[in-house]
């Protein structure tokens, strides 16, 4: 197993990466902090592309909105959130900031996902391997997002990338895959889910108004979701080496 992305924070210096699953401590605020900073960078790199996708289906501001939201999260991490050492509080605060600062529907949706992950973090079993803990958080995030957005797979939304990514992570955990493999498979499944939104007719969100005209275009929400999934790993861990941060 390679350099474990989840350990990029305070545990980044683990001497023996192969021992991570057995010996690494539970997920903590430091990992979440590092993850959020990777999100800022990856969204920043792809903001224009997201906005271009959104110009066809939505109101053409998805990349800019998301970047504004994650930048606000980073500002908080640098200031008031600098001392936050509780994973649950950190994720919930990040969710609240996203809800307040990301325009459009994606703010409440991603915000709900982070907040649900934060609520789920309170009940994490410290004895569980970290990758399984991550799977639990991602599942909570996906369920929260689906509930808030009333979305199902095939609706051409964020959820079309998030649901298969979550399922792939859970499957990898069940199989006993190492962290790097599990995260790569998660990103691969998310990418497939995003690509699968192209032939779909939008059933949720602003793109609904386009009806059949929404067919043939990639959903910007699914695309941004894939970025956030890829940010779970480092650039080296991602298929093709383009993801992560």
């Amino acid at each position: 197993m390679g350099h474990a992305s989840l350990a990029t924070g305070s545990h980044a210096a683990a001497a023996d990466p192969t021992a991570v699953l057995l010996e690494s401590p539970p997920l903590g605020a430091a990992e979440a902090r590092a993850y959020l900073r990777r999100c800022v960078r990856i969204v920043g790199r792809h903001a224009r592309a997201l906005t271009r996708l959104d110009e066809a289906l939505g109101d053409g501001d998805h990349g800019d909105n998301l970047l504004a939201g994650f930048s606000a999260v980073e500002d908080w991490l640098d200031a008031d959130g600098a001392g936050e050492d509780d994973l649950s509080s950190l994720l919930r605060s990040a969710g609240a900031i996203l809800i307040a600062s990301v325009g459009g529907a994606s703010g409440p949706l991603y915000g709900s996902a982070f907040m649900e992950a934060g609520f789920a973090a309170r009940g994490l079993d410290e004895q569980t391997p970290r990758i399984a803990q991550l799977a639990a958080l991602l599942e909570a995030a996906a369920a929260g997002l689906a509930r808030r957005g009333h979305c199902r797979i095939g609706d051409k939304t964020i959820y079309d990338a998030l649901a298969p990514a979550t399922a792939a992570l859970r499957a990898a955990v069940a199989r006993g895959a190492d962290e790097g493999t599990a995260i790569r498979e998660t990103a691969t499944a998310g990418a497939r889910g995003m690509r699968d939104t192209t032939p779909l007719v939008a059933r949720r969100g602003l793109a609904m108004r386009l009806g059949e005209r929404s067919r043939g275009r990639r959903d910007p929400g699914a695309a941004s979701c894939l970025l956030l999934v890829r940010a779970l790993g480092t650039r080296r861990e991602m298929p093709g080496g383009r993801g992560g941060a």
């Binding site: 949720r204 108004r209 009806g211």
Partner: protein, 520 residues
């Protein structure tokens, strides 16, 4: 240490309370988000039909329905029109209760506070109840929905009206110019662009005096001194029948009659004025032509009439020898012929000018027409040599034989009249470039090169024959060209190899075959 039972119960109660509050907050947040999603759709400025479809799907989704329909009242007929439908409609509209008594179906009247805009129905098959949260939400947003649908209807009506007005604006043959309160051009239509000879896009934003080249047309400051736009903007009073010349200083200025009026005066103080110009250059030209025509015809009529009057007076008052009397009578006869010819040609010109040239086209061998015209000329003027050359295969043309014969007679007469008395007049017939071609050539004074097009103008006579004793009204070729053009052909002066004139007439050949030419 064991926990005290009352403490444990209190903890459980607080946890349950916490859980309940959390769920309520979640539900409230869900409703707010659903409202937000719906508002986004409602604000998406779609057509009523697209909006109805998207909104129906959204509300079906939120209420867990698997079918539904949305009717919108048509503003013209006042009747509800089905705007969107998803799934099967299991029952008639009236059978679905609107009071929530049927948990699996709901009918909601959409009213915007003033009137009912539409009706929404959602239902779920097999008696499965609808999602109560979704149903509550639906009832909650029905006014908002009605307002949005009504707005979409108004927007659609406005768009339609705007596109109709745009079509009128663009399609108008009159030039339309819209200026703001500073008399800067806001918009011009295609006819205005063509009239002023400027690309439409480049006109926008320029002061109107630039567009109309007002400074070139007047010595004083045209913007302060009687600018009709300024008057309309200042007073609000419309101006009509305002004549002016546009593009003064350019080779072909345009005479226009304009109407000026306020286009809008908004509460914010923004004012626009519109001018509609009709190009009267053609009308003025026609007027000029008509005056000239009347003057010329009057003159041409008066001269022979004076001659006849003179001879008749002399014959009545003076005793003359029989030979002189005969000579006078012959001149009166000749002059009367000329008068009759002038009247005939004048009638032709009048008919041509008002587009009433009636033609009866029939297929006829061109050789027959040509042969007949040449034979007549030879009969009338035996001293003039007339040579006729025709191709072996002469075409059949579909023409008004009388009119084309009139053209041929005119060309042959001219050739004889302006050529030497002995001739020759050379007539050639054949096919050239797929058209029937007839040329008539003389060895006379010819037409100056710079007058070759002018000879077809009414009353034009070449400067080299104007002062001669040769009679003519300058109408024959004008009439002939109109007749030939009315047949889809051409009549032109072509350079002649020798001195003299060569007139060439081309007529289209119908697709049917050719007739053998007859030798003269």
């Amino acid at each position: 240490m064991p926990e005290h039972p009352s403490v444990a119960a209190e903890v459980d109660r607080l946890l349950a309370e916490n859980e309940r509050t959390f769920r309520e907050a979640q539900l409230a947040a869900d409703t707010v988000f659903a409202h937000y999603q719906l508002s986004q759709l409602l604000a998406s400025h779609e057509t009523p039909a697209a909006l109805a479809g998207a909104v129906l799907e959204e509300l079906m989704h939120l209420s867990g329905a698997d079918g539904g329909a949305l009717w919108i009242r048509d503003p013209r007929s006042e009747r509800p029109v089905l705007a969107a439908q998803r799934g099967e409609q299991p029952r008639g509209l009236e059978e679905i209760p609107d009071d929530g008594s049927d948990p699996s179906a709901l009918r909601v009247a959409l009213d915007d506070g003033a009137r009912q805009v539409g009706v929404l129905v959602v239902h779920r098959s097999a008696g499965v109840p609808l999602d109560p949260d979704g149903v509550r939400f639906l009832a909650h947003v029905r006014h908002e929905l009605a307002v949005a649908l009504r707005g979409a209807q108004l927007r659609e009506a406005l768009d339609l009206e705007r596109s109709e007005l745009q079509a009128v604006f663009e399609g108008a043959s009159d030039a339309i110019v819209l200026v703001d309160e500073h008399r800067r051009v806001v918009r011009i239509n295609g006819a205005a662009g063509a009239l002023l000879g400027i690309p439409r896009a480049s006109a926008t934003g320029h002061p109107c005096e630039e567009l109309f080249a007002c400074h070139a047309s007047r010595s004083s400051d045209p913007c302060r001194d009687g600018c009709p736009f300024a008057h309309v903007i200042a007073t609000g009073e419309p101006i009509s029948g305002h004549e002016r010349t546009l593009g003064a200083g350019v080779p072909e200025p345009v005479h226009v009659v304009g109407s000026y009026a306020l286009a809008s005066r908004s509460a914010g103080g923004s004012t626009m004025a519109v001018a509609v110009f009709r190009d009267t250059t053609q009308v003025a030209h026609l007027q000029e032509l008509r005056s000239g025509f009347i003057a010329t015809v009057s003159h041409e009529l008066r001269t022979p009439l004076a001659l006849i009057k003179g001879y008749v007076d002399t014959l009545m008052e003076v005793e003359l020898d029989p030979e002189t009397v005969r000579g006078y009578l012959e001149r009166i006869d000749e002059t009367t012929e000329r008068l009759a010819e002038l009247v005939r040609q004048t009638l032709d010109v009048t008919q041509l000018a008002i587009g009433q040239l009636v033609m009866e086209r029939t297929p006829i061998p061109l050789a027959d027409l040509l042969g007949g015209a040449v034979a007549d000329l030879r009969l009338r003027f035996p001293e003039t040599a007339v040579w006729l050359e025709m191709d072996e295969s002469m075409p059949v043309v579909e023409v008004d034989a009388g009119r084309i014969r009139q053209v041929l007679d005119n060309l042959l007469d001219n050739a004889r009249k302006y050529g030497p008395p002995e001739g020759p007049v050379t007539v050639r017939g054949g096919v050239s470039d797929g058209t029937a071609r007839v040329s008539v050539e003389d060895r006379g004074v010819g037409i100056p090169v710079d007058e070759r097009d002018l000879v077809f103008e009414q009353f034009h006579r070449g400067r080299n024959v104007r002062e001669s004793t040769l009679l003519g009204y300058g109408l024959g070729l004008s009439i002939s060209r109109r007749i030939v053009e009315a047949h889809g052909g051409q009549l032109q002066v072509e350079p002649s190899r020798r001195r003299g004139t060569r007139m060439v007439m081309r007529l289209p050949i119908p697709k049917v075959g050719t007739a053998e030419g007859s030798a003269p």
